[in-house]
């Protein structure tokens, strides 16, 4: 053989062997691991966790010494369930989450409160199959979010931006440096001087001497938060009672604010906005219009559990009216559950049609509606009452036109201060047709009144509330309503008939679906349907949340009052949720002869509005912001259309000079911060909260650090976080309420507030003593098995001896809970709403639209979605140009900040946009195609999925995807770069397509003109295939 040939052969052979070696490398490594590597399995149990405890055949519970089982609170969504977490003691990590059997948010029915903790472990076990009957659960998200505790995107050290805002570059700094800089200000970024919190706390000098109603300069420092995660009172203590700004608000205006506002109109309080929920367990018929229990909804799990049970074992039939099909439906429970698609933003038309049909066919509960006061209502066997029979002044041009006729109008002596207030009674007609004070009425009053009566010697046209509602309902025919909402007349009348066929055991429920350009009106109409059957406070009807316990107001410690506290911060809130008529601007313009329109809309009946904050800060109307604190909130991700405003406000230090974020992660909003203060993850923090809604028994969920917080420590040994920041800042500025001798007990003794425990443990003591008196003492065993042992030294050093075991009793059980069987007394709810329901809402009827100067309507009515100046949306953006409408529905798996939990992503990595095959055919779109969605304010690429479960004309976007932060972008923290995880950015966020209101002069996002709430339902859109 020639040597050349030999060489060629040898090289070929060598090459072959090299390829082999490469291909076989993994096999070889694995083989070697088998022989010398660590053992990865344990027989048939693989790598499964060790059980947390063992329940012997005789029921005896033995703990696993390697694990700690504790009851605390989940923040995987705003439901704030009581959960049971398993901590691996060696690593200090939470390895699994399941339900707290004591908590009604997690178990149905929940365990009697007195049950020893050890016994509660038995109750969730296989012993006597107790765990099946007493199942206590955590949802998919609640199971998955534990990942986030050790996430590489977690912020554990204070950060200061380097480079411009939102550049993604940060320098880790010490906690003390951070406090010093934000308090004292200075040339912090080499961009010129920045005023610090100390300088900005001016509680004396007005923002604008010409407009004293705006209040003092301190109002230019504001704090935006999310949901009350159980720590809001602490924050409020700093921001409002101590620092003194009026501006502190949560996410209500972009959560389900429109529903709450509409409900507030019915319940007669548009600021606190009481609301009731269907008693799913006992109802016979429920229409969910714009809320999707079991898909989302609050309480998520509780509603899901009850719905599943009621449609399977109970008597419930239900209909889900929604542009998109969700998990609220179940095809197998076919005769029980039905989906009715509706055009977005038209629920008011459906509701008014139902109201019309019910009135025309007299299917309402006349017995209920005709009771003029609570006493006669109760005597008649009702559980609530309403103002349907109350008379409204209808005399044209009368000064009181639109107001209720009152006792004082009739000559009844009423103190001047009480005139036209609660103490001034209403007037109804008696059986004889004679006016009588509602409070004096002894029986039912006529429902429909439209006549003149003699008032103070003159004839006055009056109408009953119900009469006005009837007129509003009759404005359109059933066919016209049907045309508007796209639901056939037969279905509308069918819904109305069924709804009025079950006595009190029927209900209408709504929520996020009302976040449209007419959300308030829609919600008002929907909630009014419940009034027509008088189902409030009834088993099987609608019931209010029993609520929790007040932790701030004694009986052990006064946490709200402290020496030097500012009782009520004053001035005009940044979101203009006050009557325009109170402003200097109004007075001046009135003097000039043209009081309306206001410069920008005012929302006279609304609570504080986060939706308007950044637009206000941008336009300086009513005033500018000097500093903004973002605490666990993400409006840029959550408010449709806000990103563009944020870029010009949060993005520009000249507009908002100081932005401080407090959050365990960097989100789409906090990415703009100057400073980030790390915050505790859910299993590491304190917090006490009542359920948001839907729990008929008093419940109070406690959260305590079941593991050591992972943030860096302050110089005095506290975890750097929200509490330590406010304490340190307050002390640095010498503000009241923090430091030594600031918490007063019942005997007037003073205690310090130097650490989170000083506050929360005393709050816990208050709760332990609240209600029907103190809870029992925790046993040694309770303390041991619940993991409370870990924090016992804190309890002992902070609390009085007699308090220690009571607080331990509560924390060991994850809260304080009223027994499940106390929800109802007979057929009537224990916790009742007893003020009159408003068929006609006087406050609303007599408030004026700040732009048109026209009054609002006192009863619900159908109004198409519209912009601030009243222009219908479709007039500006007609169907011919924007043939589709975008809507948002919550992901059944994700929430707005769970995207980095890899296991949720693995299951459902993306949110293709649902389009009806009819539309898709027309546009030549097929499942999997990339499409471009455009609205008048933006466009984005998305993937399409054809679904019959979305109404034609609608594009449905699942919320929770399309992140730009939370791990979608790798930030640089000093010399450490976060990892890049492309999956976190998957999909789209509808809010990036949100609309600017084209009728407004400022750069504001589209909000409901009455409630000021964000509009995410029914955005005009068009689509093309890319």
């Amino acid at each position: 053989m020639s040597s050349r040939r030999l060489f060629l052969k040898a090289s070929a052979a060598a090459g072959g062997l090299a390829a082999f070696a490469a291909g076989f490398s993994e096999t070889a490594t694995r083989a070697v691991h088998t022989w010398i590597g660590e053992k990865k399995t344990k027989g048939v149990n693989g790598r499964s966790l060790e059980p947390e405890f063992t329940v012997a055949p005789d029921g005896k519970v033995s703990l696993n010494p390697n694990q700690q089982v504790s009851y605390t609170m989940c923040l995987g969504c705003t439901t704030l369930c009581g959960v049971r977490v398993r901590v691996d003691k060696a690593s200090g990590t939470v390895v699994r989450v399941s339900g707290n059997p004591y908590s009604p948010l997690s178990a149905d029915p929940h365990l009697p409160y007195g049950t020893p903790v050890r016994k509660s472990f038995q109750s969730v076990s296989f012993y006597e199959e107790k765990g099946l009957a007493g199942r206590s659960t955590a949802c998919g998200r609640g199971n998955a979010v534990l990942e986030q505790m050790t996430s590489p995107f977690r912020i554990t050290q204070p950060l200061k931006r380097v480079g411009p805002r939102n550049s993604g570059k940060w320098a880790p700094i010490s906690f003390e440096q951070l406090v010093q800089e934000v308090v004292e200000g200075g040339n912090l970024f080499g961009e010129g001087p920045v005023e610090g919190l100390r300088a900005l706390r001016d509680v004396i000098n007005p923002i604008d001497a010409d407009k004293p109603e705006l209040g003092a300069k301190v109002n230019q420092v504001a704090l935006l938060s999310s949901v009350n995660d159980g720590r809001e009172n602490f924050v409020r203590r700093f921001m409002q009672q101590s620092y003194g700004t009026i501006n502190m608000v949560g996410h209500g205006a972009y959560c389900g604010g429109s529903y709450r506002a509409g409900s507030g109109a019915v319940f007669g309080d548009t600021r606190q906005m009481p609301h009731a929920k269907p008693d799913i367990e006992n109802a016979e018929f429920i229409v969910f219009i714009g809320t999707a229990p079991a898909n989302a909804g609050n309480p998520f799990k509780r509603q899901g559990t009850l719905l599943a049970k009621a449609r399977t074992e109970g008597k419930l039939n239900y209909v889900v009216v929604d542009p998109v099909l969700t998990h609220a439906d179940n095809a197998v429970a076919a005769d029980r559950s039905r989906w009715v698609p509706i055009k977005p933003g038209t629920d008011g038309a459906l509701a008014m049609a139902m109201i019309r049909w019910i009135i025309e066919n007299e299917r309402y509960d006349a017995k209920f509606l005709t009771q003029p006061n609570l006493a006669v209502a109760e005597a008649a066997g009702e559980a609530s009452w309403c103002n349907a029979t109350h008379l409204v002044v209808a005399e044209p041009d009368h000064a009181r036109q639109g107001f209720f006729l009152r006792g004082s109008d009739m000559g009844v002596p009423v103190a001047e201060a009480d005139k036209y207030k609660d103490a001034d009674p209403f007037v109804v007609l008696d059986e004889a047709g004679k006016p009588v004070l509602h409070s004096k009425a002894t029986g039912p009053a006529p429902l429909y009144v439209s006549q003149s009566i003699e008032v103070a010697g003159a004839s006055m046209a009056v109408r009953s509330s119900m009469d006005i509602l009837r007129e509003a309902a009759m404005k359109l025919s059933l066919e016209e309503y049907s045309q508007a909402c796209g639901i056939p007349v037969e279905i509308i009348t069918g819904l109305a008939r069924e709804f009025t066929s079950h006595g009190k055991k029927a209900a209408i429920a709504t929520h996020g679906g009302t976040m449209a350009g007419n959300g308030f009106a829609n919600a008002f109409a929907l909630v009014s349907l419940n009034t027509l059957i008088g189902n409030l406070n009834w088993k099987g009807g609608t019931v209010i949340n029993a609520g929790g316990f007040k932790e701030e107001e004694g009986p052990r410690y006064a946490l709200k009052d402290f020496p030097g506290a500012i009782e009520k911060p004053s001035g005009m809130p940044l979101g203009r949720n006050q009557p325009y008529e109170k402003t200097t601007e109004f007075k001046r313009k009135k003097e000039a002869g043209k009081p309306y329109p206001a410069e920008q809309p005012w929302f006279s009946t609304a609570p504080q509005l986060a939706t308007e904050w950044l637009p206000s800060a941008l336009s300086g109307y009513p005033y500018n912001l000097k500093a903004l604190i973002l605490w666990n909130t993400n409006p840029v991700y959550g408010i449709p259309g806000l990103r563009k405003v944020a870029e010009r406000t949060l993005g520009d230090p000249k507009v908002i000079p100081l932005v401080i974020a407090i959050d365990p992660f960097i989100n789409e909003t906090t990415a703009y911060a100057d400073y980030i203060i790390p915050d505790a993850f859910m299993y590491e923090s304190w917090g006490f909260a009542a359920p948001w809604a839907g729990v008929p028994t008093k419940s109070y969920i406690t959260r305590w650090p079941v593991v050591e917080p992972r943030m860096t420590k302050t110089a005095d040994g506290q975890p750097a976080g929200m509490e330590s920041f406010f304490i340190a800042a307050a002390k640095a500025m010498g503000l009241p309420g923090f430091g030594d001798n600031v918490i007063k007990d019942a005997d007037g003794q003073l205690y310090p507030l130097n650490r989170a425990e000083d506050y929360y443990l005393r709050a816990a003591a208050n709760v332990a003593w609240a209600g029907k008196g103190p809870v029992p003492d925790a046993s040694d065993d309770d303390i041991m098995v619940s993991g409370i042992e870990r924090i016992m030294p804190d309890l002992k050093s902070t609390l009085k001896d007699e308090e220690v075991r009571k607080v331990a009793f509560m924390l060991a059980r994850g809260g304080r809970f009223q027994p499940a069987n106390e929800a109802f007394q007979g057929e009537i709810a224990t916790w009742k709403f007893i003020k009159p329901l408003q068929v006609y809402n006087e406050a609303h009827a007599t408030a004026k639209d700040s732009l048109s100067g026209k009054r609002f309507a006192g009863t619900p009515g159908w109004v198409p979605p519209r912009f601030a100046d009243g222009t219908p949306m479709r007039k500006v953006y007609p169907e011919t140009e924007w043939p589709l409408q975008l809507i948002s529905y919550k992901s059944p798996l994700q929430n707005s900040y769970s995207i980095a939990a890899s296991r949720l992503r693995g299951l459902h990595p993306d949110n293709p946009v649902a389009i009806n095959p009819v539309d898709a055919d027309r546009l030549g779109i097929r499942t999997g195609d990339v499409i471009r969605i455009s609205t008048p304010s933006g466009s984005a690429k998305a993937v399409a999925v054809l679904r019959h479960g979305v109404r034609a004309g609608v594009l449905a976007v699942e919320h929770g995807f399309g992140h730009k932060e939370h791990g979608a972008r790798a930030h640089q923290l000093g010399d450490k770069a976060q990892p890049t995880v492309p999956g976190i950015a998957a999909g789209i966020n509808l809010n990036d397509l949100g609309l600017r209101d084209p009728t407004r002069k400022d750069d504001a996002v589209w909000v409901d003109p009455v409630a000021g709430t964000a509009v995410r339902q029914g955005l005009p859109a068009k689509v093309e295939k890319v």
Binding site: E129, G304, L893, R903, V981
Partner: protein, 243 residues
């Protein structure tokens, strides 16, 4: 029309390839005697599909409890949209190992690593498994997978480790809709048995024609979902999409 009876090819198969298949199943019992577990029990699950809300609490809790690697699932709730005429509805189907009484995954195992316990649970001895994945192929339900962290076959164990501790399987314990009921099917008083009895033949199993005799029963199982689902495929394929 029963599938197996019409499959005359089984006969031909015998001629061409010997009595392989048939011998295999009948010999299974003899060659793979049941080991471990309480012989008086027969663990099983009853899934009431009407109660399932598709929340995947079961899926995720199973993952956490059993350290199931990414992109693998011992259980998952398949979610569908069904259109029948004008009516469109949501259909959810919790899937997991059926712990078949006649498990085709067992006889194929070349090393006897997978076997059925006396209580009916079909398990894998992770210390013996060679990771050949033959059982993965043989399971008609896609209930098995190769765990890339242990490099062995993995599947639902009915949470044997929890049962041994007197606890419920993770997915059952945390089932939000209360759709999953686990218990001893031999015990006339068990909730699972009682549910089955009450369902009076309405309870169905997946792919009955495979003759596997599953012990996961469904109440409210639509025939169209019993076998391989004929429908439009979901868009995402997690093993490939995103990191």
């Amino acid at each position: 029309m029963t599938h197996s009876r019409r499959d005359i090819l089984k006969g031909i198969g015998t001629i061409t390839a010997g009595a392989a298949a048939i011998v295999a199943t009948t010999a299974a019992e003899a060659a793979n005697p049941r080991q471990g577990g309480d012989p008086d029990r027969r663990w099983g699950m009853v899934v009431d599909v009407r109660k399932c809300i598709g929340c995947q609490a079961c899926t995720i809790s199973c993952i956490m409890e059993n350290k199931v690697p990414e992109n693998s699932y011992r259980t998952i709730v398949a979610t569908y949209e069904v259109k029948d005429g004008d009516r469109v509805g949501t259909y959810v189907l919790p899937r997991l190992c059926n712990h078949c009484s006649n498990p085709p995954c067992v006889p194929v195992c070349p090393v006897g690593a997978t076997f059925q316990q006396k209580d009916g649970a079909v398990v894998v001895d992770g210390d013996r498994c060679v990771g050949c994945a033959y059982c993965v192929q043989a399971c008609p339900y896609d209930a098995r997978f190769i765990n890339h962290e242990t490099n062995t076959a993995d599947k639902c164990t009915f949470c044997a480790h929890r049962l041994a501790a007197g606890l419920l399987p993770a997915c059952v314990e945390t089932c939000v809709g209360g759709a999953r009921t686990f218990g001893d099917l031999n015990d006339p008083n068990s909730t699972a048995r009682k549910l089955l009895d009450a369902a009076k033949g309405e309870a169905k199993v997946l792919k009955p024609e495979q003759g596997t005799a599953p012990n996961v029963f469904y109440i409210g199982l639509d025939d169209r979902f019993q076998g391989r689902v004929e429908g439009h495929q979901t868009l995402w394929q997690p093993s490939k999409t995103h990191g």
